[in-house]
């Protein structure tokens, strides 16, 4: 049963299994284990980013393609929900239509970019996606009539998903059973289904072919795998998953803006999650995303404390400033590419 759900891709290490179980339980019971708005927000962010990082890992880890347009697809899903809710009023129909439209737009754009650049030379892909993604981000912040420009869009989601809806008079385990909790479970199960679907994809024959292409393109082609077709299909699948993750994020936040869903900083975040967690395993993406979001929320406070403690030493407070946390993560990123190319998960599996 478990093996079937995980598509035969078991964690293969007791420590990794325990960590994954801890993440799963922590997220599944987050509203009751960690009551409070901020921690629920963190948990929802982890859910979304687990799905997003997993979809990126399909490209980076399994297909060996570097794309810098992943936030663009994420943003398309988010803006799809926002625009639909804005135009059709608050209803579940608008959420579904927006997610679908966002996913279709992402698929179409991924197909175009993929066919166009993967045909020529794989290395073009990284550069072309970078250019296209930044052009789209600029376009979204300039079309202020439609997208709200830099300010982004605020919109209303169905009342059943907001804190205004009450489902029980008595608090359950210290948490009021409001629509917010329902909304959290929508995000949680949405992300879980996306993650398991991606796990299924990478463990299918299709995923094996992707890995073969990653390892040796010429050989894969000689065996008879259609390299361009597989790469493009991987790009499209990963774009659609990213768009759906974006839709979940938009439903949770009730706000979209260029900085929250389209900016290059998010792209860097995803890259760090996947590489630090471990490329080429879906579990790596999950562990990486959980670690990263927790670090983002709590490491900065720690660094602030450290900076205060080091106030006497010249120079040290500057690099320990909470705003400079990316400096440390960037260094960690470079070191992990060199020394732990398989990331946390690879270490735990003993490879």
């Amino acid at each position: 049963m478990l093996k079937r759900i995980l598509s035969g891709d078991m964690p293969q290490s007791r420590a990794l299994g325990l960590i994954l179980l801890a993440i799963l339980i922590g997220l599944a019971f987050a509203p009751f284990l960690f009551p409070g708005t901020r921690s629920l927000d963190t948990a929802a962010r982890i859910c979304v980013f687990v799905a997003l990082a997993a979809s990126y890992d399909l490209l980076l880890g399994y297909a060996g393609i570097v794309s810098f347009a992943h936030t663009m697809f994420f943003g398309l899903g988010a803006y799809g929900v926002a625009l639909a809710s804005d135009g059709m009023g608050r209803s579940f129909g608008a959420l579904a239509a927006g997610s679908l439209a966002g996913a279709l737009a992402a698929a179409a754009l991924a197909l175009l970019v993929g066919l166009f650049s993967l045909r020529v030379r794989a290395i073009f892909f990284a550069m072309i996606t970078l250019a296209v993604a930044s052009a789209v981000a600029v376009l979204f912040s300039q079309l202020s009539g439609i997208t709200g420009g830099e300010d982004g869009l605020n919109y209303r989601i169905p009342r059943a998903l907001t804190a205004a809806a009450r489902y029980a008079e008595e608090p359950f385990l210290g948490m009021r059973l409001t629509g917010k909790v329902l909304n959290y479970y929508l995000v949680f199960f949405g992300a879980l289904i996306l993650f398991l679907a991606l796990l299924r994809v990478v463990n299918s024959p299709f995923g094996r072919v992707l890995q073969a292409i990653r390892e040796n393109e010429f050989r894969a082609e000689a065996i008879g795998c259609r390299v361009v077709w597989h790469r493009t299909a991987a790009t499209v699948i990963s774009a659609v998953s990213a768009a759906l993750a974006g839709s979940l994020y938009a439903i949770w936040l009730r706000y979209v803006g260029p900085d929250t869903v389209l900016s290059f900083e998010i792209m860097v975040d995803i890259l760090l999650m996947v590489v630090i967690g471990g490329m080429g395993t879906m579990y790596g993406a999950a562990v990486g995303a959980a670690l990263f979001v927790l670090a983002q929320n709590y490491l900065q406070a720690l660094m602030g404390a450290a900076a205060e403690a080091a106030a006497g030493v010249p120079g040290l407070p500057l690099i320990l400033d909470p705003d400079r946390w990316l400096l440390w993560l960037g260094a960690l990123f470079i070191l992990s590419v060199y020394f732990f190319p398989t990331g946390v998960v690879g270490r735990l599996r003993g490879r």
């Binding site: 166009f116 650049s117 250019a131 052009a135 500057l318 990316l326 990123f333 590419v337």
Partner: protein
């Protein structure tokens, strides 16, 4: 048994179509300028836009030329190139601020000297940084594209953050030396002096680079290395040493481009290099990876396109450059002047 066909090779003169195909990339720049002239109603604004487009193109060329040669020679894609642009701008502007005795002087010669010293400081700093970057970050990952992209991207993040540590998180506004302020009026069009300087520097640099690549021994080795690395190495040249030189020179040029861009905008931020990389990558791709001429033409096209479209329809400026890239790649998938790889 039939006799083998006789061997009589013919050397036909190339037809006009073939000659045109070779010259086509060079004709695109005047063609785009002519199209701009048709689209923009007033001749004077066209002239202003053309000069600023050329100036922008030249500056982008300065930044992109190093990147394209680095790729051509060693198959290394440096996503951290943008960091050198930012570092160059900060060091150069810092040097200008330190030289306020020269920049404030009323003499244009002293102003120009200040500018040259600032550029030299920036190039020295980014050249040294490039040397360290090549040793520490790029060298361990030769031949692995995926890791190269990831690691150089990590380098970009770290250097950007270090700039924020050293120079602080806010943008730095400043003004150019006195002699480079203001505009000349020519045929009713206002042309900023600094843009003419940028065009001059870019053109001089392009010609110098072309001469160095075509007429000197080291240029010959570099060009041969781009075409066939193994053969050059088999002939006994240590291409890796040449490559380090090219990497350092390319980084220094990125720094020079950064100073010039900073002086053009009169504001610098740590993220300016990363943002400029978008245009630099477009230029490198449409020019043909590894080709300096292609890079030059691509930069001019992108600069002109950006300025014309920004005047006609401001929201479409960046999208128009993506359109330009798509159009050129449809026409020539390997870029305008593809580099012949003997592999």
């Amino acid at each position: 048994m039939t006799a083998a066909p006789g061997h009589n090779p013919t050397f036909a003169a190339r037809g006009p179509a073939e000659r045109l195909a070779e010259a086509a990339p060079f004709l695109l720049v005047p063609l785009l300028a002519a199209a701009g002239w048709l689209a923009i109603p007033q001749g004077s604004s066209w002239l202003t836009l053309t000069v600023s487009g050329l100036a922008m193109g030249m500056m982008i060329f300065i930044m992109a030329s190093g990147l394209t040669l680095i790729f051509g020679l060693m198959d290394v894609i440096n996503f951290g190139h943008g960091a050198f642009v930012s570092v160059g701008a900060f060091v150069g502007v810092g040097a200008l601020a330190a030289l306020d005795g020269l920049t404030g002087a009323p003499s244009p010669a002293l102003n120009a000297l200040a500018l040259a010293l600032a550029a030299a400081a920036a190039m020295l700093a980014t050249g040294a940084l490039g040397w360290a970057f090549e040793r520490a970050i790029v060298r361990p990952v030769y031949g692995a594209h995926l890791k190269q992209i990831l690691v150089t991207m990590g380098g970009l993040i770290v250097i950007e953050q270090l700039i924020l540590v050293i120079w602080g998180p806010s943008e730095i506004f400043f003004s150019r030396p006195e002699a480079f302020k203001g505009a000349l009026t020519f045929a009713g069009a206002a042309i900023e002096k600094y843009r003419l300087v940028a065009v001059g520097v870019g053109l001089a640099l392009f010609l110098a680079m072309r001469t160095a690549l075509r007429a000197t021994r080291i240029g010959l080795i570099v060009r041969a290395g781009v075409e066939n690395r193994e053969m050059v190495e088999a002939l006994g040249y240590r291409l890796r040493v040449v490559f380090v030189g090219v990497f350092v020179a390319g980084s220094a040029l990125a720094g020079l481009g950064g100073v010039m861009w900073g002086l053009y905008e009169e504001v610098i931020t740590a993220h300016m290099g990363g943002a400029l990389m978008v245009l630099v990558f477009i230029v490198v791709i449409i020019g043909g990876l590894g080709s300096v001429e292609g890079c030059f033409l691509g930069a001019l096209l992108v600069g002109l396109m950006q300025n014309y479209v920004a005047f006609l329809e401001p929201k479409l400026a960046l999208i128009s450059n993506i359109g330009l890239m798509v159009a050129i790649l449809m026409w020539r998938p390997q870029g305008m002047i593809p580099v012949v790889k003997a592999k």
